[in-house]
């Protein structure tokens, strides 16, 4: 089914904005997406009509808020096809989700154990493991990334050993757009008894995510990269794993009984949710995922793939432009460099022309080193972007290159 992009765009008022008297072209969706009215209104609606603290209340508003909050959890569980809503932990976002696992799994990691990541990880899925390894005298192992932005399963098999305790890998690279073969990776890992954490930050809004089909042990994502509000995200974890992990932080609903000397902790998912949760955020996230569901993630995927292909072809025609990340399995992200021109110079001029790109190392310094570049320009697409916008982007890029050559 084709998406009706005009209708969709009218749900996102910010897209009609002008910047420096130029129509805004928002191609920084990998950093954060814009939010549809449905999400913005849901948040207002909550504060106007339902606001209350949850769980511990003994009154009407508190019950409404609790029901809606727990229904949001169930909706999220359904969206990623979790077996149970108990496997859905609300966090601040991908970064906290990953840090939560790194912190709560600490007791299971010992000296000389190994954790495998890849050279394309975002700092948020790299530094927590690096620091855990430093802390535990364990070893961080690095799966390399080929020139086209892909990884090799046979290299992974070679890296895996009896000391491997965890594999942490991005579902989709925020720099290269590569869709990693996570299902195959998980199968290989499980054959060796190793759990896998997937960083789904760049995947959740772009491809179908089915945690049971993937069979991943952990899956982390942020609402704000999937048309939802900032400040909230999810850690999915298999119940058996979440039960094995130590609690994360202390206070509020995560506590069962406390005396001065001892505390017993609540069951899942509350065990990992200390303090008053972001109820408005959870409801906003639910609205955002409903928005995606209504359009259909597969329709979104094919629309964005088309857009990516069109944009890739168009910029490839410009002299000096080199696309970074050309894996076969790829979506939504278009990184590039221009020979002899610094990404920042182009980014600055593009901004002046109304086009929101990102330039730099994209919080993936090790990847930049690995690819021997100092940074890229990145155009990242969402379901509301259009070929017309791509055309404007390409001619602006041409203009910028001319000015800078």
């Amino acid at each position: 089914m084709a998406l009706n992009i005009d209708n969709i765009r009218s749900d996102f008022p910010i897209l009609s904005k002008e910047v420096y008297n130029k129509p805004l072209i928002y191609f920084d969706n990998g950093a954060t997406t814009q939010k549809p009215l449905q999400v913005i209104n849901r948040i207002s609606e909550y504060y106007l009509n339902e606001n209350s603290n949850v769980h511990r209340g003994a009154h009407y508003l508190s019950q409404i808020a609790t029901d809606h909050f727990e229904n949001a959890r169930k909706y999220v569980a359904g969206f990623i096809n979790a077996k149970s809503h108990r496997e859905v932990i609300f966090t601040k976002g991908t970064t906290e989700s990953i840090n939560l696992v790194a912190s709560s799994i600490k007791g299971l990691i010992e000296k000389d154990d190994e954790i495998i990541i890849t050279a394309m990880e975002h700092h948020s899925n790299m530094v927590p493991w690096q620091q855990l390894c430093i802390n535990k005298n364990a070893k961080l192992r690095n799966l390399s990334v080929a020139g086209d932005g892909s990884i090799s399963l046979s290299e992974l098999k070679d890296l895996i050993g009896p000391s491997t305790k965890l594999i942490a890998i991005a579902h989709i690279s925020n720099v290269l757009g590569t869709i990693n073969p996570v299902k195959e990776i998980i199968e290989i890992a499980h054959n060796n008894g190793i759990p896998v954490l997937i960083d789904g930050a760049q995947a959740i809004a772009h491809v179908n995510v089915d945690v049971q089909d993937l069979d991943c042990d952990f899956y982390a994502f942020s609402a704000h990269k999937a048309y939802g509000p900032m400040g909230i995200g999810v850690l999915y974890g298999k119940e058996s794993w979440l039960n094995k992990l130590a609690p994360y932080q202390y206070g509020g609903e995560m506590i069962n009984t406390v005396s001065f000397n001892i505390t017993t902790f609540n069951e899942l998912p509350y065990k990992f949710e200390a303090g008053t949760p972001d109820v408005a955020g959870a409801l906003g996230m639910e609205s955002a995922l409903r928005y995606i569901d209504n359009l259909g993630i597969d329709n979104i995927r094919s629309y964005e793939d088309e857009l990516l292909e069109y944009a890739t072809n168009s910029i490839s025609k410009l002299v000096g432009v080199r696309v970074i990340g050309t894996a076969l399995e790829k979506t939504a992200v278009l990184s590039f460099v221009v020979d002899n021109i610094h990404p920042f110079d182009i980014g600055t001029l593009m901004n002046q022309l109304g086009i929101a790109l990102r330039s730099g190392n994209h919080c993936a310094q090790p990847l930049m080193e690995h690819l021997k570049i100092t940074g890229t320009l990145r155009a990242s697409f969402a379901l509301y972007n259009t070929k017309d916008e791509v055309d404007i982007f390409v001619s602006a890029l041409e203009k910028a290159i001319n000015m800078l050559s």
Binding site: H55, G57, A58, S62, Q63, D67
Partner: protein, 140 residues
């Protein structure tokens, strides 16, 4: 009377009240009729977790039927559990385990109790069914 019939009689009774304050007054009365648990069972073992007021529940098995006694330190909780006992007690384990408990929604109890209370209600029912199952296995 079957569980279903007993549940229906509860629904009928509650339908007489329009005002929830009257329903609560009635629940408070019902609490007083609760088949009180023997003091010796008011201990940790018989405490139901998940209720914010304390509820003790005991089950016994005679002539293939399960009977419940209970107590709580909160009166309205007592009323609620007395309803549950009235509907479920004195029944075959299999009937308890498979009972249709939609009467709780029908009288509006679930919607009118706080989330913690509602969780307590769920805990009570779970515990009653657990007892029924256990006693059934033990005695067969």
């Amino acid at each position: 009377m079957t569980i279903k019939e007993r549940a229906q009689s509860v629904v009928d009774e509650f339908s007489m009240f329009d005002d929830w304050m009257d329903k609560y007054a009635y629940l408070i009365e019902l609490g007083k009729e609760l088949p009180l648990i023997d003091e010796k069972y008011k201990n940790e073992t018989h405490l139901i977790s998940g209720c914010q007021s304390r509820v003790w529940l005991h089950a016994s098995y005679e002539e293939e039927k399960v009977s419940f006694t209970a107590d709580s330190d909160a009166v309205i909780t007592k009323g609620i559990i007395s309803l549950l006992i009235r509907v479920l007690s004195d029944s075959k384990p299999s009937d308890i385990v498979t009972a249709d408990l939609s009467f709780i929604d029908e009288i509006g109890l679930k919607a009118h109790l706080s989330p913690t209370r509602a969780n307590g209600l769920v805990s009570m029912i779970k515990q009653m069914q657990l007892y029924a199952r256990a006693l059934h296995i033990k005695n067969s």
